[in-house]
Every structure is written in C-alpha cells, then in structure tokens.
C-alpha cells in the first residue's frame, strides 16, 4: 500500500524540479544568445549590406549603386540582380597603387604609433601600479579624465599646440632652444603625437591591471637571489606583464589603422591613411561600392590581429590550467 503511494507521489514531487531545470537551461541559453544576437544585428547584418554594396556598381542615382535588391520582379528578377554582382571593385583596388600604399602606410603609422604608445604608457602604468595604494584610484581617474572631453576638441587643441606659431614653438623659441619654428603640424610626426595622446589610456589601463596584480615580493625574491633591479625588471616584471602589453597594443593598433580624424586634422595632405582614402571615396567621389570594398579589406586586415590576440589569450588560459 505504502509502495503504491510512494510510486504515485514520486513523479509529482519531481515535477517542479524538471520545470525549474528546463527554465534554468533556457535561461542559460538566453544568456549566451544575447551577445550573439547583438553581433548579428549590429555587426553581421551591416557587414553583409556593406559587402553586397562592395560587389555592386556605382551609379548616379539614389542609392548611388546598382543593383538594388528587391522582389518586385519576382524570384527571376532577384536572380538577375544577383548575376549583376561582381568583384570588379576589388580588382580595381589592386590596379590602383593608391589603395595598396594607403593600407601599407596605415599599418606602418599604426604600428609606429603603437610602439610609441607602449614606450610612453609602460612607465605611466608602472608608476601607477607602484604608487601608494591610496593614490591609485586618483591616478586611474586622471588617466580616464580626458575621455570626458570631446575627442574632436582634444585633437583640435593639438593644432594650436603644434602649428608653426603655436604654443610649443613659442615656448621653445622663448627659452632660446630654437630660432626657426619646428614644422610638426601636417607631418607624420603630428599624427604620431595625436595617436599616442588619444590612445594612451587604452594602453595604460590593461598594462596597469597586469602590473598592479603582480606580487611585489617576486621582485624582492629576484633581488634576494642576486638579481639587480634593472635585470629583475626584464626577467620578472616584463614577462609577467606581457598579456597586458599584448592587450594594450591591440587596443591601440586596431583603431589606429582605421583612424580618420587624427590624420585628417593633424596630418598633411600627402599623408596616406586608409581611413582618409575611405572618406574621400565615400563623400568626395560618392563611390559607395569602391569605399565599401576598401572597408571590407580594412576589416579583414583588422580581423587577423584580433584572431591572433584571441588565440594567444586562449593559449595563456590553457597554460594556466
């Protein structure tokens, strides 16, 4: 008798737990879906549109390219439109040396700027990480503070500093260090200064977080074992901050390659950067398909370092197991 009661009662008792388990599984999937949904709506769909435009032909019309996909002519019409797509624009990019030069020059400028940002940012991050603990929030705040002013205004401000009759030249001439004003504005040097200045926080923050969590007793242990301070830095601190260096460099390099505002405002007319080329194609020539092709190639160019970064991170995590 009691056995039957138990047998009958068991499924009833377990029902809520099955329900809650289903709910938990759904909830867990939902949490995972959200970022993918975000990527789909705000990255993949726009990218697909840009990619399609890059395969179209320019036209003086509204929109300024053809074909425009529509179902007004039925499926046959859509197939016709699909057949009109071609890779002409990509071939065009290889024919005109301008684009290749722009890509190379962008990568070079971004790479040099990244190295310079690292050279400036590392001591800053190191100093912050070694500062008394009570100072650190304030120092962190100071690094982030420039973000509260418009990026555009900060870049404009550099024109006032760097131009021939600007603050820097006035100061240097005032103290008698130079007689002729330095020509910095409208050169690559001005771009380097602009990028280093603008992207410094992106370098400092990951470096700081890597250096700050490092146990200082490791340095003491190295010294204790006969290692002078500078050597201890290269053997202990530097390798342990390497993940921070990689993260910081990618955070600076990737946006710097596509940077438009800084080369436009601070760089000269002869400065070739892909962001500027893209802007010209799009707004000056109104050639949407070619500028889309430029954008697609730029994206591929940037995806490679991101993939390398992610793999190096995955490997680091793997090693920590």
């Amino acid at each position: 008798m009691s056995d039957t009661v138990l047998a009958a009662a068991r499924p009833v008792a377990s029902r809520p737990s099955v329900l809650s388990r289903t709910f938990q599984a759904m909830y867990g999937r939902l949490v995972i879906i959200i970022p993918y949904l975000w990527l789909l709506v705000f990255f993949l769909v726009p990218f697909a549109i840009v990619f399609k435009i890059s395969l179209s032909q320019t036209q003086i019309a509204m929109p300024p390219y053809a074909p425009v996909f529509s179902l007004t002519d039925g499926f046959g019409g859509l197939l016709d439109q699909l057949r009109q797509l071609s890779i002409d624009n990509y071939l065009w990019l290889t024919e005109d040396a301008l684009y290749f030069n722009a890509y190379v020059s962008s990568v070079v400028i971004a790479a040099v700027s990244t190295v310079l940002t690292l050279l400036v940012g590392y001591p800053v991050a190191y100093g912050m990480a070694r500062a008394p603990e009570s100072w650190r929030p304030t120092l962190l705040m100071l690094v982030i503070l420039p973000f509260w002013t418009s990026f555009l205004i900060r870049v404009y401000a550099w024109i006032g500093i760097l131009k021939p009759e600007g603050l820097l030249n006035q100061f240097l001439q005032g103290i008698g260090l130079i007689n002729e004003p330095l020509i910095i504005l409208n050169t690559n040097a001005a771009i380097f200064i602009g990028i280093v200045y603008s992207y410094l926080p992106f370098m400092v923050l990951p470096l700081y977080s890597a250096l700050e969590k490092m146990d200082y007793s490791l340095i003491e242990a190295a010294k204790d074992l006969g290692c002078p301070p500078i050597s201890a830095f290269w053997k202990i601190t530097f390798p342990l901050s390497f993940p921070g260096i990689v993260a910081g460099c990618l955070l600076v390099f990737i946006p710097a390659v596509g940077e438009f505002v800084i080369p436009d405002l601070l760089g000269g007319s002869q400065t070739l950067m892909i962001g500027k080329t893209l802007w010209n194609e799009f707004f000056a020539n109104r050639d949407w398909p070619v500028s889309s092709a430029v954008a697609v190639i730029l994206l591929l160019l940037l995806v490679v370092p991101i993939v390398i970064f992610q793999q190096s991170q995955a490997r680091a995590i793997e090693q920590d197991r």
Binding site: A221, K223, L225, C227, L240
Partner: protein, 380 residues
C-alpha cells in the same frame, strides 16, 4: 639554575664566552614615519644556529628579517654579518637568502628554472647549475616535478620549491618568513622536522620568523620573544617555557597561572608570597625579588596537582578550592579550580590510564597542590 631538561643537541655556542657571534644586531632601531617597528634592539645569532623570532603580528619580527635581507635599512644602529657591516649593501649583494611567506615563486618559470634563477645570477657554468638543481630537487624530493609550473603544485610542494630555491646558492644565512604559515596543520608538523633535518644537512644558519610558538619550540635552538619592537627574552625553548623572564613571556608561551602578590618574607631562597586575600604560598626561584615587592608567581597548569583529598606533604603548597570547569581533551584533562579568593587556577592532568580512581566533577571540593620550585617568581 638547575638543569632544565634535555636540549635537542649539545649545541650551545651562546654559553661559550669565546664564541664569535655570526649575526649581530647592535642597537638597531627602525621607524616607519611615526611608527617604531624595532626599538633599540640588540641580538646575537651564532653560526649554524636555528634561531626563531617569535611574536604576535606587528611586533617587528618581520622587519628585523627584512633588514637582514636588505629590503629595509635600519634607522639607527648597525647589523653585522660575519664581522661585516651590512649597511648600504643592496639585497642582491648580500650572502643571505630569504624564503618568503608567500613563497614568491616566479609563476612564469618551471620549478627547475625557479631553483636555477639565483645560480644564473651568479654566472655559474651551465653544467654546474644543472648539477646543483638536481641536487636541490633531490633534497626536497621533487625530482618528478622539475618541469612543472608553480601553479601546478600543491601548497606543500611549493613550500619545498621555495626552500630549494633559497638554499640553492648556499647562502651563509637562510631567512625564513613564516615558512609553514600556508600549510595545514598535519603538513606543517611533518615539514617542521624536514626543515630541521635540512638545516642540519646543509649546515646553514637559519633565522625563522613565526607567530606559532609550537613551531618555534619544535624547530629552534634558541627563541627570541619579541613585543612592540623589543626583545623580551632570548633563550632555548626549555628556558623560555620553564624560566620565563617576565609576565609577558610567561603568558605568551604556553598556558600559565599567574598568582599576583607581594613578597612577605624570604629566607634560604624561599619566599612567602601573599595575595592580600588570605592566600599565602611558598616559592623558590625568586631571583632578585626583594621583600615587600609586588611579584607574580607563574606556574604552568601541568605542574599543579588536583585531588579531592588534602595532600599531607608539608613541603608543598596546598590551596583549597572548588572545581569550576572541566575541559576533557582526550590526552589530558584541564581543571579550572576556583580558589576562596575568587581567582581561577588551571591545572591539567595527564590521562595516563583509562580509568581514574579519583574522579572529580563540577562543584566538587578540591585541593590544588604544587611544589615551591614548580613555578618562577617574576618581578617584571
């Protein structure tokens, strides 16, 4: 003074007036801002000694160790190592090595590379480094773990890597900052003996900082008890326990009953101490306590006997009281006996046999008895 039990080995250079101390702290003071971490401290440590600095956190023991390692410089006074003044010598040029409390193993290097680190700094030949590393791995029984990274090791294994790394350079002195603090109790006890064996084997001078009195008692040849930046007593574990020099030391090391009173008379090395509430005891080991001075008679619980019948030996002190509390610990039982004047005395009895013929229970009338030489009279 009468003999105070056997010492671990017949090694006592501190009793030899001709022995030259190896490490000397001379009137060392260290201040951090307004805080005085070490106050005018003098200390002598001998070669091959296992020396423990024992004290509560913040007593200055770690600062003392860090000054010896070179991470901090004394504000005043000087530190000599083998006759050489260490002032101004950076940590990387001192012939001492330290084993850190956190072990401070380099996380990006293998066990092997960690141990070899100091040897590479010395510019030792590669073949010699390999030989020494293998030797060290064998010493700490970690041969199989040479290629592992620190995070792949257990706490006890990390402790041994840290030890191997710090002794690999054959330092003159090894400094150990809470070397067993991160280990659980069982592992700690095992490792204590390992450390002692390794110290003997290597013939090094060990200076260990600890807050664990049992650890200090087990391992050290001598212990310096520290409080507020000063050394309260430097002595062998047995002396520290049986002949503490002050109330602080007596209270810090082990359990103790402190019977406060005044010396009402002394003759032939025996003093009468009265607590002013009708309790008078006879005490030997009176030192320089003068008649009329306020003293404490410090006696360990295991030296007090509790019985239900009044002992008839006229030589011992007998005080009547009442069983107030009983703590049964398995190997022994601790009785808390409330005396007529209200003070509670702890007495512990070893449970040597399973059945006792004198069962005592709560609120029983009981007598505590102890010999006059079972405790010490403390004036400080």
């Amino acid at each position: 003074m009468k003999s105070l039990g056997s010492i671990r080995r017949s090694f006592a250079p501190w009793n030899d007036p001709d022995a030259k101390p190896y490490i000397v702290f001379e009137n060392v003071t260290k201040r951090f801002g307004d805080f005085t971490a070490v106050n005018n401290l003098s200390l002598k440590i001998y070669e091959r000694e296992f020396f423990a600095l024992l004290g509560a956190s913040g007593c200055g023991k770690s600062t003392l160790l860090r000054m010896l390692a070179g991470f901090d410089e004394p504000t005043a006074g000087r530190i000599l190592l083998d006759g050489q003044d260490l002032r101004g010598i950076p940590p990387y040029r001192r012939p001492v090595n330290m084993m850190f409390q956190s072990y401070a193993l380099f996380p990006h290097m293998t066990v092997e590379a960690n141990i070899a680190f100091g040897l590479k700094q010395e510019g030792m030949a590669k073949a010699d480094i390999e030989k020494r590393v293998a030797e060290m791995l064998k010493l700490v029984k970690l041969e199989r773990f040479a290629k592992r990274k620190p995070h792949q090791l257990s706490g006890g294994q990390r402790q041994r890597v840290a030890l191997a790394r710090s002794v690999a350079k054959r330092p003159k002195v090894l400094l150990l900052d809470e070397p067993l603090g991160a280990l659980d109790k069982k592992l700690r006890e095992e490792t204590q003996f390992e450390l002692m064996d390794q110290q003997q084997e290597l013939g090094l001078t060990f200076v260990v900082v600890t807050h664990d009195q049992e650890e200090a008692m087990t391992m050290a040849d001598r212990i310096a008890i520290m409080d507020k930046g000063e050394v309260m007593q430097v002595a062998t574990p047995a002396e520290v326990y049986e002949a503490p020099s002050s109330r602080f030391v007596a209270g810090f090391v082990g359990n103790v009953n402190m019977i406060e009173g005044t010396v009402s008379g002394r003759e032939n090395g025996v003093a009468r101490i009265s607590d002013g509430n009708g309790l008078t005891i006879k005490a030997e080991n009176i030192g320089d306590a003068a008649a009329g001075s306020a003293v404490a008679f410090a006696i360990r619980p295991e030296k007090i006997k509790v019985s239900s019948r009044k002992p008839d030996d006229p030589g011992v002190n007998v005080v009547e009281g009442e069983i107030y509390d009983i703590a049964y610990l398995g190997d022994m039982t601790v009785y808390h006996v409330k005396l007529a004047d209200g003070q509670v005395v702890k007495a512990s009895a070893l449970n040597a046999s399973r059945i006792t013929d004198d069962p005592l229970t709560w609120n029983d009338r009981a007598f505590i008895s102890f010999r006059p030489d079972a405790g010490v009279v403390l004036t400080r």
